[in-house]
Each structure stands twice: as C-alpha cells, then as structure tokens.
C-alpha cells in the first residue's frame, strides 16, 4: 500500500494551489477592506481599495508613480547594497575577533540606537540633500541589521568545522569564504530580508528630510494635503516593491539551501 505522495506535482495542482493560497485570500482581504472603508472607517483615514487602485492607475498612466519609484529605488538599491556589504563585512570581522568586538560593540550599539530622523542636519551637512544623503540614510538603516545578524551567524559557526579548517591551515580569507560565509548564510539571509523593507523606509526618511521626488516625497505631499488616497497609493508602491523583492530573495535562497539540505528537511519538517 504505497503512501500517498506528498505534494505531487500534477499539472493543475499548482494552479489550484495558487488560486487557493493567493487569489482567494487576496480577494477576501480586499473585499473586507472595501467593506470597512465603506461602512466603518471614514475613507479619509482608510480609503477604499477601489479608489486606491484608480489612483495608482492614473499615476501609472501619467508616469508620476514610475518616476518617483525610480528615484526611491535608485536610493534604496545603492544604499542597500552598500549597507549589506558593509554590515556583512563588519559582522564577519567582529565575529572573528573577540578583541575588536569587545572594543567596538558598545559604540556600534550606541550608533545603532540613534534615531536617524533626528540627525537630519548632520546628514545634510555631510551628504548634502541629494542622492548621496539618501543612500547614506538607507545604508545606515541596513548596515546594523545585517551586521548584528551576521555577527551572530559567525558566532554560531559549528566549532567542529572551524577546527577542521584551522587544522587544514586555512588562511583567514579562506576561513571567511569557505566556511563562515556559507555557514552564516542563513543569518545573512535574514539580515537581508529584514533590512530591505528598512532600506525602503530609510529612503523615505531621507526623502522626508529633503527631497523633490521619490515615494517619500509623494507620501509627504499627499499627507500634507489630506490626500489619503494618494498617501495610500504611495504606500502601495512601497509594499509592491518590498513584496516582490522578498519573494525573489526567498526563492533564490530556498533554491540554494535546498540543494544540500532538501532530503533531510523534506523528511522531517515540522509541518
């Protein structure tokens, strides 16, 4: 009596699954929202999805949304890449040296805890009001999260494997490239995952400090004129960017780890 195959990849199943897991719940959420904003909450505070969709449509049509998304994405991606690289490097460096981590960790923590919004003037002084200021803001938002995750990831590298590498006379660079990075990848992944939306927030905070385009600018303008529909259209754009990135990232990471962990995971997963 063969046990039923789990999740057989029959054609049709995938479509049915997609409908069940994505289309139906989304439809329910949107319907509920429409109902709430029609009957419960004034649309000034929570506009109906229909009107947001209309606004997004018209802003897409006249190029306003894409233009501003482009600005924000440019800031976000540059700062994000910078922050991830710097955060991962710093996390690895401090994870590998107890001396440096002992020395620096309180300063890093103190800097992390600074509310960046309050540092607007310093940011302008150092980076101007243009692109570089927003990139710096994004980079700082991203840096710390990636840093702390990577740091812990390095600390959690299997001691047996460290020992094996050291006995094999691995150089520090080899240690990093061949043991620490692959081993801490799960941690770095979460650092990246958690920090991308923060990167968007960072770009928007930067735009609130000074801007003449970008999603933050769109949101600010809308908020200032009680244009809640516009505000939500801006927020919607942020959400779409974040979700697209998250789905892509999770997919890529999942594919990578599945290669060497699939069998045992598939066998004993919690669900």
């Amino acid at each position: 009596m063969p046990a039923a195959g789990r999740d057989a990849a029959r054609p049709g199943t995938a479509v049915a699954r997609f409908v069940l897991l994505r289309v139906v719940p989304l439809a329910i959420v949107l319907a509920l929202w429409q109902a709430v904003s029609t009957w419960a909450i004034s649309p000034v505070y929570l506009p109906a999805p229909v009107s947001i969709a209309a606004r997004v449509g018209s802003w897409l049509a006249n190029g306003y949304l894409l233009h501003n998304c482009y600005t924000t994405l440019e800031e976000t991606i540059s700062g994000f890449v910078l922050g991830v690289v710097a955060g991962a490097l710093a996390g690895i460096a401090l994870g590998m040296s107890r001396w440096w981590s002992g020395l620096l960790s309180p300063y890093i923590n103190a800097l992390y805890a600074l509310p960046k919004v309050a540092l607007g003037p310093l940011f302008i002084l150092w980076f101007g009001i243009g692109l570089s200021m927003k990139i710096a803001m994004v980079g700082i938002f991203v840096f710390f999260v990636v840093f702390y995750n990577t740091w812990q990831g390095v600390k959690e590298v299997d001691a047996k494997l460290i020992q094996a590498m050291r006995l094999l006379r691995a150089s520090r660079l080899q240690m990093v490239l061949k043991l620490i990075v692959p081993s801490a990848l799960g941690w770095i992944f979460v650092g990246i995952r958690v920090s991308f939306p923060l990167a968007l927030v960072g770009a928007i905070v930067g735009e609130l400090i000074a801007s003449n385009s970008g999603i933050g600018y769109v949101i600010l303008n809308a908020a200032n004129t009680f244009d809640t529909v516009g505000l939500f259209a801006g927020l919607f754009a942020v959400m779409v960017i974040a979700v697209v990135f998250d789905v892509a990232l999770t997919y890529v990471y999942g594919r990578y780890t599945r290669r060497w962990a699939l069998q045992i995971k598939g066998v004993t997963a919690l669900s």
């Binding site: 000034v44 505070y45 003037p121 302008i124 101007g128 009001i129 000074a210 801007s211 003449n212 200032n224």
Partner: protein
C-alpha cells in the same frame, strides 16, 4: 481613541480639562502659550494640556478621534480636510494674514540683483532662479510661492522646490543646497541670523496683499464637539481672546512670557525679530467670520489655480 466626554463635566460652566494639540511648536501660537502662562484658562476653570503633533495631518485625526478637543493649526490644512469631508471647524483666529516669510540667501539675492527696493514682480520673477526649501511642496508654502510667482508672471509649475524637514532647512541653506526657503517662524529668522539670508517677502509685513485680513492660523475643533460642548468651547475662545488682547496691549511682556516659557533656548535676538512679525499678524480678538475665511479660500483657489470645493461658511464654527 479618547472620548469626547472627558470634559463633559465642564459643559455646565464647571471646571473642565481639555487637551490641545499644536501642529508644531511655533511662535505663531503665542496666544495659547500666553493664555496658559497668564492663567486665562484657569480663570475659565479650564485645565489645559498641550501636546505637540507632527503637522496639520496629525491635528485633524487627533480632534476627530477625540484624543484632543482643540487644535492649533493652519486654515490651509483645515481646508484640505474639509474638502475631504471632515467636519472640522475654525473657532478662533490665531493669525490673520500669512505668518510665513520667504527668505533668500544674500549671495543669491546679490546675484539676482534683488534689494530692498525690488518690486513684488521682480521678486516673483526671481523665483525662477531659486531653489526654495519648503516643508511640503503642496499646501501652504506652495500657495504662498505660487502667489508670489504669479505676481512675477512666472508659471507656478516652473517653481523649483525642495521639501526639507524644518530642522534641516538651516543647514541646507548654509551648505548652499537651497537658495531660499519659506518655512514657519522662527526658522526663517534663524536663517537670517545664521545662514546669511535676507527677507525676500514678508507676509506678516503685508507683502502679499492677497492675504490681507485672511485668517491663516486658527483654533480647530470637531464640529460635533463645538455643538455638544458649547460652554467649554466658548470659555476656551474667551481665554484665547484675553491672551490676544494681552499680547496687543503688553507686547514686550508677552514676548518675555512666551520666550522664557517655551522658547528659552532660542537666541533672544532671533526670537524678538520673529516676535515682531508674529505680533503683526496676531488679531486683537479671536472672532471669525465666514467672510474672513472665504478670503483664505479665495486665496487658495487663486494660488493653486484650482476650484476649491469649500466655502468660508463650512470652515466656520459658531461659538456662542
């Protein structure tokens, strides 16, 4: 959210405590600070607590949700809210005439050949060549700038505005990132002091005639609160009225009260300069009329080039 009934006890004329939100800690709201410090609220058996919120966008929901009973904010914000169907009314005038200055860096002014004798049209024309820092590129500062631009025959769409946080504006000007700014007092005054700026247009001094006698900053409340708590409302307005009268009568003393009580860290000279302008636009009494408010509405429709879907009547809250 909070509840409208928190102060219900005061509706019979008895003691009541009210929450007031201010959309920013601005000298424009001097009457409020004076009323607190001089005990005018206490005289009316009102206990007032002040909360600073982030702009007009936060004032309206605070009133709407009952978290606060009165709000000090701009009519321009109210207008936006009312057009969105919010039942928010102005019950007292705090500034009549625009309290914004437009300042420009001296260097840029010299380059553009602007001086004390330049006409409004020349100044408006100069906007074409200026990058102007504003809190927001829509709403109040936009109206002011586009009004000025029109005076100079410049199309408002040609304005080169940069949205900057008010705390960052001075730095932005100092480092040459912006050439001019129109941001609330005393930021512009501080810019003159610190960042080598000079006045381009002073609305408080009446440089923009369109805004003459038009209320710009008012006390807001939700329409329902005004009707359900007529007594508290009228006592509140009365106290504000006393404060405004006091300000007109004893300007120096009032200035000192406000400065030491709320702006102690601001340079005295800067404060005094700003104060002089604010005193200009503070009315002698808070009474508002639909006609006055209509002036503001007209100004907005002219400046924005759009038909405003609200009237002075709708903005006015009748205080008994």
């Amino acid at each position: 959210g909070g509840s409208n009934d928190e102060s219900g006890s005061g509706n019979d004329g008895g003691p009541a405590s009210v929450k007031v939100v201010v959309s920013t800690a601005s000298i424009s709201y001097a009457p409020l600070y004076i009323a607190v410090k001089q005990g005018f609220f206490k005289d009316q058996k009102l206990t007032v607590s002040i909360t600073t919120v982030s702009g007009g966008g936060a004032t309206v929901p605070a009133l709407q949700s009952g978290s606060a009973q009165f709000g000090f904010s701009s009519v321009f914000h109210q207008l936006d809210a009312v057009q969105q169907g919010q039942k928010i009314v102005s019950i007292a005038a705090v500034n009549t005439g625009e309290g914004l200055d437009v300042v420009v860096s001296k260097k840029k002014a010299a380059q553009l050949g602007l001086n004390a004798n330049s006409t409004l049209a020349q100044k408006g024309q100069a906007l074409k060549h200026l990058k102007v820092g504003v809190i927001s590129t829509s709403g109040e500062p936009y109206y002011v700038l586009s009004d000025l631009a029109r005076a100079g025959g410049v199309d408002p769409s040609e304005l080169n505005m940069e949205a900057v946080a008010s705390s960052a504006a001075i730095t932005a000007m100092k480092t040459g990132q912006i050439d001019a700014m129109t941001i609330g007092l005393p930021v512009t005054t501080e810019a003159i002091e610190q960042a080598g700026a000079q006045i381009l247009v002073s609305c408080p001094a009446g440089d923009l005639p369109d805004l003459h006698e038009a209320p710009t900053e008012t006390v807001l409340a939700s329409a329902s609160y005004v009707t359900s708590h007529a007594s508290v409302t009228s006592r509140f307005v009365k106290a504000i009225g006393q404060a405004e009268a006091y300000l007109k009568a004893n300007s120096d003393q009032a200035a000192e009260t406000v400065r030491t009580g709320y702006f102690a860290k601001v340079d005295k000279q800067v404060f005094d300069t700003a104060w002089a302008e604010i005193a200009n636009v503070t009315p002698a009494e808070p009474t508002l009329t639909a006609e006055q408010l209509q002036r503001t509405v007209d100004f907005v429709s002219r400046a924005s080039g759009k038909k405003v879907k609200a009237t002075g009547d709708q903005l006015l809250g009748v205080v008994k």
